[in-house]
Amino acid sequence: MVADRRQGKAGETGPGLAGSGLAGELRELLAELAGRPELRTADFGLPLFGAGIGLDSLTGTLLLREVHRRYGVDVAAEDLNLDALASLASLASFIETRRR
């Protein structure tokens, strides 16, 4: 139930909702890995690919590696199309539903 609710919000979860703590951690991580401090205030629903955040394959790889290390969730192995990387919110939901 809880997992379903969170998944339903993937992509549009804003600050203050369930998982925003994790999304906040991920946002810090992304800003650090990308070397772009301005991402620390990016919207959790902003698309990671393309015009939103413009995640490149290098930063994306580092992010997935760190997610695997910190939370034990291997996104690349479980998510063929990497849909979890639609946004920081969807990535947080994906991790939340799998890490326990």
Binding site: R36, G54, S57, L58, G60, L80, N81
Partner: protein
């Protein structure tokens, strides 16, 4: 032992060298690691790759290798006959290994280099094998060692923690697997520690190292121009990274400032060795997860040239053209009815010329294009190359009237960067049947990445500029192509 002629001599890239056959490989491997069980277990982990690569080497060199190929081509026969991948980087201890004494015990001038090791350093560099330092000395030792040996060291780990950890950091830094590293140390304790903690690392004492250039693990089949300049390319990259840290603007602005030039053109027959090397050495941006022999590239290129005169290469890059590949001089490199076209992607900027860093093999079918191989050196990672190539393919397909672009890929833990680039360029994957086909071995996880092509994309490619436009420090790296 000096390796045979130019043909068989070298290139850090290709694995599973020829000279000597399996029995030699087994003997050497056991000597250096000292524990047969470890070696066998470790080698089984890389069974797929090694078989493929050994097979390819046979075809490229063609003479001495029948016995290697005969026993290794099927995975089932590997039990007693183990072949290691070719070493990409040698990690050296300093005191009593590279130096003729102990750095910190010197009263005045620190000790000079061991002449035997200087010769080995130079010979391996010539073959495109990198060198690094792991030393229990202050960082100043690296500069001294570089000066007295005359060698270029692409990484130096100076400190007091375990050398197996230092090796892990060096491998990470270079973007290569620890199974592509050899470690040389005069201290039996250090060798034992590394052997125990990292059984995949080839561990040698300095005495053994004097004969190592004659071993298959240090004898790549071919030395391409890129391989021979590998240390220099790496040093270019360190200067580029230092400049990027100083640079104020975005990644894309930095790439422009670097005068990054990405050129896509038809591959020539002379490129075949380098293309084979790319297909064997690259992992992070490799769709096929298997090495194609040079002969296969030669055949494809020759067939393509027979089908029509190759058009000129064209710049698509970040620094020359604005940010997208759309240029007035665009020529259709791939025409409907072509059986296959082999494309070569070249990269250079103000810091240096990286040469041929990527390739793709494209077949133009009636309804759409299929990219049967996509491989890029991870040296080019973070420099806009993969995104420019994908954007170029989309645009070229659109101009040719293709409705779809399909890229079959073997999914490996290491080619996640390729998947990220494909997803960013609008591709969607569907899982394919694991067995059969030409892209890989049975049991591999495979998928086809597809993207519908809109006629309007002939003018403005949707995938353009993704990587170039994004930020991020290029910290995940590679040695030569090693990624």
């Amino acid at each position: 032992m000096t390796p045979p002629g130019d043909n068989a001599a070298s290139d850090a890239g290709d694995a599973g060298g020829p000279a000597g056959g399996n029995s030699n490989v087994v003997r050497d491997t056991n000597q250096v690691v000292g524990d047969t069980n470890e070696v066998v277990r470790d080698t089984n982990q890389i069974v797929g790759d090694t078989n493929q690569i050994v097979g390819d080497t046979n075809q490229m060199v063609g003479d001495t290798n029948q016995m290697v190929g005969g026993t290794n081509e099927t995975a089932g026969s590997r039990g007693g006959a183990v072949a290691r991948a070719v070493v990409k980087c040698v990690v050296w201890d300093v005191d009593h290994t590279l130096l003729d004494g102990v750095f910190l015990e010197a009263d005045g001038e620190p000790p000079g280099a061991d002449p035997a090791m200087v010769a080995v350093l130079a010979e391996l560099s010539r073959r495109g094998i990198l060198h690094a330092i792991a030393s229990r000395n202050p960082p100043a030792v690296a500069e001294h060692v570089a000066r007295v040996t005359g060698a270029a060291f692409v990484a130096a780990e100076c400190g007091w923690d375990a050398k197996s950890d230092a090796i892990g950091r060096i491998a990470d830094h270079l973007g290569i697997g620890t199974d592509a590293i050899a470690f040389v140390d005069d201290d039996p304790y250090e060798r034992a520690e590394v052997s125990f903690a990292r059984p995949e690392v080839m561990v040698l004492d300095p005495e053994e190292m004097t004969s190592a250039p004659g071993w298959p693990e240090f004898s790549p089949a071919v030395v391409t121009a890129e391989a021979a300049r590998r240390s220099q390319l790496y040093l270019d990259r360190q200067r580029r990274q230092a400049a990027e840290r100083e640079f104020g603007g975005s990644r894309e602005e930095f790439l422009r400032w670097c005068q990054t030039e990405i050129t896509i053109g038809p591959a020539a027959l002379a490129d075949a060795d380098r293309l084979a090397e790319l297909s064997a050495r690259t992992h992070q941006f490799n769709s096929a997860a298997r090495a194609l022999p040079a002969a296969e590239f030669t055949g494809l290129i020759a067939a393509g040239e027979a089908a029509g005169p190759p058009p000129a290469a064209e710049p698509v890059g970040v620094g020359t053209a604005a940010s997208g590949p759309a240029e007035a001089g665009f020529t259709p490199l791939i025409a409907a009815g072509d059986s296959a076209r082999v494309l070569a992607v070249r990269l250079r900027d103000r810091f240096g010329d990286d040469g041929l860093v990527g390739t793709c093999v494209t077949e133009a079918g009636p309804g759409g294009w299929t990219v049967t191989l996509l491989a890029m050196s991870c040296r080019a990672m973070g420099r806009g190359v993969i995104d420019s190539l994908l954007a170029w393919l989309i645009e070229a397909a659109a101009r040719a009237g293709a409705r779809e672009l399909a890229i079959p890929a073997v999914l490996t833990p290491r080619n996640v960067p390729l998947r990220l680039a494909l997803v960013a360029a609008g591709f969607r994957a569907s899982e394919a049947e694991p067995a059969g086909g030409s892209a890989g071995e049975a049991g591999q996880r495979r998928a086809v990445f597809q993207r519908a092509i809109d006629a309007g994309e002939a003018a403005s490619p949707a995938g353009a500029g993704g990587e170039a436009g994004a930020g991020g420090e290029p910290t995940a790296n590679e040695a030569g192509d090693g990624g």
